[in-house]
Each structure stands twice: as structure tokens, then as C-alpha cells.
């Protein structure tokens, strides 16, 4: 089958989802009201609550949620064949992610722009709120550890990307100064920044750099990269945001659009054939079963709880008019689905023969981002005539910059959590910035190395990250469902995804628990148990909160009749 059909089918289905299903959900279920005074207007303060143009808000929302995860998940999940991954990404985006993201913005904007964490406390209960904090912490911890391993692997596999990856940080630092001190206008700075970045991508293959296999203190090259990355992330998370984070995010956002455009353009021109099997009947030994693992391997790109944090944390406070949430939330999810779809096409159509494909997907957890880079580079070469090494460098830089930004944002958020715990439990030192950052880095390093001695084990925790992320999405869906029940509106459009997620998450955790037990991997076994406990608590909370609300509604109806 030709990849162009795959692309058109996927994008077409998501477009239908946006034009038809999201209209139904927003108008009939959420009943968005153009006259509703959104928190951005009601509580306008110029700091958090600022009414923002919907296209800008969409760009901000989309670039905050799209990262390396929607590339990594599908690139691993294609091992079961491209059809399951394709279906889950497309239908997940339409019926799960879009509703979840738009719903999170709606729930928050109807509650004075409060975050989902706070809403969980108000609407579901205080216990649920504590679970929420723990789940967020685990998600951040895992995402940081996994991404550090991903970046380290990419830098080892593609040494030509080392220069542009680290050079991009220097470019961002310079841009940050130029803009902050108002030396030149933003449009000019944008052009200079993008030209500098792509200039380095051009030069990178001529000056490849890799660490020696054995470095200081007997660390392997992968371990050294991981340590270096965390040192960087710690410093970056301590710098003022305008110095590095802001210009980096801006350049990344532009890069995301250029990268997506290039990939889809190249697929259209090259029209490669899909070589990966539709359903892989001959999966390598040790590959877990498709159900439920597919649904936790692809989290971002189908549904991701992380989006709810962004949607309710910042997006809802800037919503100008309530109907905008359809474009910002739902279309933001569609954008991420499109990124995941591009990843699926790259890893299933980017190889010349089935044998080439099988050579990469010889083991579960293989493939991943390296397969995306290789496959995508082949498509870019065929479609746009780019040199293979340069195309690989380009895609590596794209993935690494995404993962890197997520890491330093994640570390910053983890630090806030530690500082909050410090103030809750009156631990003085934990409230200070530097010790809290060091504590956060320490936890991440422990996980990155604890999961596998040489750091390679980082990939083992990817499905665990998926389950935790889905649990977070489940909590958000629970909040939305309880709100809908309270308003006496149909609940199945959010309850069905919630039930599906909880089933798959719990099953996935049990299966992984068994495999960690069989391998004697006690570290991950314990981690899995903690997440399982959280999952069970979420299920209990969900059923009790829902039955309570439904009973209250019935009592209300009876008293109205009487």
C-alpha cells in the first residue's frame, strides 16, 4: 500500500473528527457559550489571566504538548504492524484526545481557570487530589529519565547531530539576550535563529563528534551523555525563563512546523510504499501482547494526561471566548495526532524492504526514535533529494530539541513539587531552589540508571510511563464526567474513554508486573506496584464519585417531583 493513501486517510479522518464530532461535543455536550465571561476576562491581571488570540493560543498549546513522545510511542508500537498503531492514533485522537483536551479547557474555564489538580480536589475529593500529585510526579520523573536515554542514544547513533544539538542552546541563549535587551526586532531575530540552526544542521555532518566509549570515572559514553544532559537540564531549569527556555521553545515551535511540513511534503512527492506488515504475525520473541500494551505504548498522539495539565494550567487562563476551546483544544490534539501519524509513516514506509524493517524491529523496544530518524531520512532523501546523513541530522535535531525542552520544563516542574512538599511538611531546605533541583535530578538519575545499569534500561520504563500518563488522563476525564453528570448531561462520551483507559492501564500494569517479576527486576517491580496502587485508587475514587453524584441527581429529581 502506498503511504500517501495512509496519510490522506489518517488526516481525512481526523479532519472529519474536527469538523463533525468536535462540533457535536462542544455544542451539545459542553454547550459552549459565546457570551460566557471566560476567566481571562473575569480575572484579567496581565500576569496569568490574559485574553489571547485563538491562533496564538493554539500555537502555544500545540507546541507545549507536542514533543518527542508522539514520535517515540508510535515508532515502538509499529512492531505489532502498522494497522493497530494507525487505528489507535486516528481513533484515539478523534474520540479520546480531542474530547479530553477540549474538556480539560472547558472544565477549567468553568471553574475560574483552576488547574485539573485543584479541580480534582474540589469535584472528586481530597484523596483523589493526593493521588493526582503523586501521579504527576511519577509522570515527570519517568519522562525525564526516558528522554535523557533517548537523547543519549540519538547522539551516539548520529554523531553528526552533536554540533547542532548543543549549538542550538548557544543560539537560543544569544537570541534570548537579543530579544530581552530589545537589540533587534523579533522577525529579524527569528530569521537569524532559524538560519543559524539549519546552518549548523548543514555543517554538522562535516564535523561529527562522539564521546569515547570509556570516559572519566569508567562511565560508558551513554552514561556520560545522560549525566551531561541532566547537568544541562538542572542549569537550564535554574536560569530565568527569558534567558534560555523562552527562545528555545520559540525556535522549537518553528522547527516543529518546518519538520512536519517537510515530512508530509516528502511523503507526497516520494509516495513510498509501506513495507511494514499490516499486522505483524511474526513478532519477535518477548514482545508483549498487543492488547493492552499498544494502548499504553502510544500515549501521546492518541491520548495523554499531560495535555490536561497544560490545558488547565495555562491555556484555560488565556481563553478569549469559550467557543475557541474547540479550535485550541480539539485541533491541538489533531495536530499532535498528525505528528504521530507522520512517525508511523516514517517507520513503516521509510525502509526499502521488509527485511530492512525486520532488521530494525528485531526486539521489543528496539526501533523507537532511531527507526524514525532512519526511515524519515530515507523519505526525505527520496522526496526532497536531501543527503541522507543531513536528513538524519535534521530529524535527530528535531527530536532531541523536543525531548530536551521537555526535560528542562519537567525538571522545573518537579522542583516546584518538591518545594511544595517542603512547605507542606515544613522542611526548610527542601523549599530552597538549589537543593530541590538537585533532589529532582537525583531521582531522575536514579531511575535512568536503576532501570538498567548502563542507562539502556531507560527504554524499559516507556510502557510504564504510558500507563502513568493514561492514569492522569483518566483522572481528568473523571473530573469532566462528574461535572457533566452534575449538569444532567450525557456522560458516555467521556465515561466510555475513561473506562477503556482504566481497563487497559490496569491490565497493562498487571502484565508488566509479571514480566518484571519473571526477570527479577525488583526496582521496576516496585515502581509498577506503586502505579498499580494509584490506578486502583483512581478506579475506586471514580466509582464512588460517580455513584454519589448520580444518587444526588436522582434525589434532586424526586424532590422536584414531590
Amino acid at each position: 500500500m502506498n503511504a500517501v493513501y495512509l496519510m490522506l486517510m489518517g488526516l481525512g479522518a481526523m479532519a472529519l473528527g474536527y469538523f463533525i464530532y468536535s462540533k457535536f461535543i462542544c455544542e451539545k455536550i459542553f454547550q459552549v457559550d459565546p457570551n460566557f465571561r471566560t476567566p481571562a476576562h473575569e480575572l484579567q491581571d496581565g500576569v496569568d489571566y490574559v485574553p489571547t488570540n485563538k491562533y496564538i493560543l493554539w500555537g502555544h498549546h500545540f507546541t507545549s504538548v507536542a514533543g518527542a513522545a508522539p514520535i517515540l510511542g508510535p515508532a515502538i508500537a509499529v512492531i505489532w504492524g502498522w494497522v493497530p498503531a494507525f487505528l489507535w492514533v486516528v481513533f484515539g485522537t478523534i474520540f479520546f484526545a480531542g474530547v479530553h483536551d477540549a474538556g480539560a479547557i472547558w472544565a477549567s474555564s468553568r471553574n475560574k481557570g483552576r488547574s485539573i489538580g485543584a479541580l480534582t480536589g474540589d469535584i472528586v475529593g481530597n484523596r483523589a487530589r493526593s493521588i493526582f500529585m503523586i501521579v504527576i510526579f511519577l509522570v515527570l520523573l519517568m519522562v525525564n529519565a526516558v528522554f535523557a536515554v533517548v537523547i543519549a542514544n540519538q547522539l551516539i547513533n548520529f554523531p553528526s547531530a552533536t554540533l547542532p544539538v548543543w549549538g542550538a542552546i548557544v543560539v537560543a541563549l544569544i537570541i534570548g539576550q537579543l530579544i530581552y535587551r530589545k537589540i533587534i526586532g523579533l522577525l529579524l531575530v527569528t530569521v537569524i535563529g532559524v538560519v543559524a540552526l539549519y546552518g549548523m544542521i548543514y555543517v554538522g555532518p562535516m564535523l561529527p563528534f562522539s564521546l569515547p566509549e570509556e570516559t572519566l570515572f569508567g562511565l560508558s559514553d551513554r552514561q556520560s551523555w545522560i549525566v551531561l544532559l541532566f547537568v544541562y537540564a538542572a542549569i537550564a531549569s535554574l536560569l530565568p525563563v527569558w534567558a534560555l527556555l523562552q527562545p528555545r521553545d520559540y525556535i522549537n515551535g518553528i522547527q516543529l512546523f518546518i519538520g512536519l511540513g517537510l515530512l508530509y511534503g516528502a511523503v507526497l512527492i516520494a509516495s513510498p510504499d509501506v513495507v511494514a506488515p499490516a499486522f505483524n504475525t511474526d513478532v519477535p520473541e518477548g514482545t508483549p501482547s498487543l492488547i493492552p500494551l499498544l494502548f499504553v505504548t502510544i500515549a501521546c498522539g492518541a491520548i495523554s494526561g499531560f495535555h490536561g495539565l497544560v490545558a488547565s494550567g495555562t491555556t484555560s487562563k488565556q481563553l478569549d471566548k469559550e467557543p475557541d476551546l474547540r479550535f485550541v483544544g480539539y485541533f491541538g490534539a489533531v495536530g499532535e495526532g498528525a505528528l504521530a501519524l507522520a512517525a508511523i509513516i516514517a517507520v513503516s514506509a521509510g525502509f526499502a524492504t521488509l527485511a530492512d524493517w525486520q532488521a530494525i524491529y528485531h526486539n521489543f523496544g528496539q526501533g523507537g526514535v532511531a527507526a524514525f530518524t532512519r526511515g524519515g531520512a530515507n523519505i526525505l532523501e527520496q522526496g526532497l533529494g536531501l543527503d541522507t546523513v543531513m536528513a538524519q541530522t535534521l530529524l535527530t535535531v528535531m527530536v532531541v530539541l523536543f525531548a530536551g525542552t521537555t526535560m528542562d520544563t519537567g525538571l522545573r516542574l518537579q522542583r516546584y513539587i518538591f518545594q511544595e512538599w517542603g512547605s507542606i511538611y515544613h522542611i526548610g531546605w527542601m523549599q530552597k531552589t538549589l537543593p530541590a533541583t538537585l533532589l529532582a535530578v537525583g531521582c531522575c538519575l536514579l531511575l535512568a540508571f536503576g532501570a538498567g545499569g548502563d542507562g539502556a534500561g531507560g527504554m524499559l520504563i516507556w510502557p510504564l510511563f504510558g500507563t502513568t500518563n493514561q492514569l492522569l488522563a483518566g483522572l481528568t476525564l473523571l473530573v469532566i464526567t462528574v461535572m457533566l453528570v452534575k449538569l444532567g448531561r450525557p456522560m458516555w462520551y467521556t465515561l466510555a474513554p475513561l473506562l477503556f483507559l482504566l481497563c487497559m492501564t490496569t491490565l497493562g500494569l498487571l502484565i508488566q508486573l509479571k514480566s518484571f517479576y519473571d526477570k527479577g527486576d525488583w526496582f521496576l517491580f516496585t515502581l509498577d506496584l506503586v502505579i498499580l496502587a494509584a490506578a486502583i485508587l483512581v478506579i475506586l475514587e471514580a466509582s464512588s464519585a460517580l455513584t454519589k453524584q448520580i444518587k444526588a441527581n436522582k434525589a434532586q429529581v424526586q424532590s422536584d417531583e414531590a
Binding site: 496569568d48 488570540n53 496564538i56 500555537g59 530579544i179 523579533l186 522577525l187 525563563v241 521553545d249 520559540y250
Partner: protein, 90 residues
């Protein structure tokens, strides 16, 4: 005519670029600025709260200028009512 159209397009493009650059970080930067301003308030009003300040001769001059912000500041610092004896804002 054509030049005007280009200028208008350029203005529109810079508006979107500025917004795209600033919107995500507006709150973080405003908060950082507020923290610096809060420290400055403490320096300016320190003498009135019994903290000796060698520069009080100069900061005295600034006090009327900052008075408007004083109420928000003391509330943000966790003092429900004005900490000053001489004059109170609430």
C-alpha cells in the same frame, strides 16, 4: 498602495511573532519582575518597619511614588493589614 499592503502584512506578521514569543511566558516573566519589585518595596519601606537602612534619606523620596502599590504588596507579603503605625491603607 502595494507598499502599504506589504507594510500592513509586516505589521501583522510581527504582531503574531511577538505574541507567539511572549504569550507562553508572560506569567513567568511578570512573576519574576514582581518578585524583584517586592524586594525593592521592602528596601524602600524598611526604615518605617524598624529595619535600619543607610539609604533611607533617598528612599524616603520614593515612598509617595510607591504608595499606590503598597496595599497590594503588604497583602502579598502575608500581612492582612498595613504594618505601618504612622499611616494605614486599610
Amino acid at each position: 498602495m502595494k507598499l502599504d499592503a506589504i507594510k500592513a502584512w509586516f505589521r501583522q506578521a510581527s504582531f503574531y511573532a511577538e505574541e507567539a514569543y511572549n504569550a507562553p511566558y508572560r506569567s513567568a516573566i511578570a512573576r519574576a519582575k514582581r518578585e524583584q519589585d517586592d524586594l525593592f518595596m521592602l528596601l524602600v519601606f524598611s526604615e518605617m518597619m524598624g529595619v535600619p537602612n543607610p539609604a533611607s534619606y533617598y528612599t524616603l523620596e520614593l515612598q509617595p511614588l510607591l504608595l499606590e502599590r503598597f496595599h497590594d504588596w503588604h497583602q502579598r507579603m502575608g500581612m492582612e493589614h498595613s504594618p505601618l503605625d504612622q499611616f494605614r491603607c486599610c
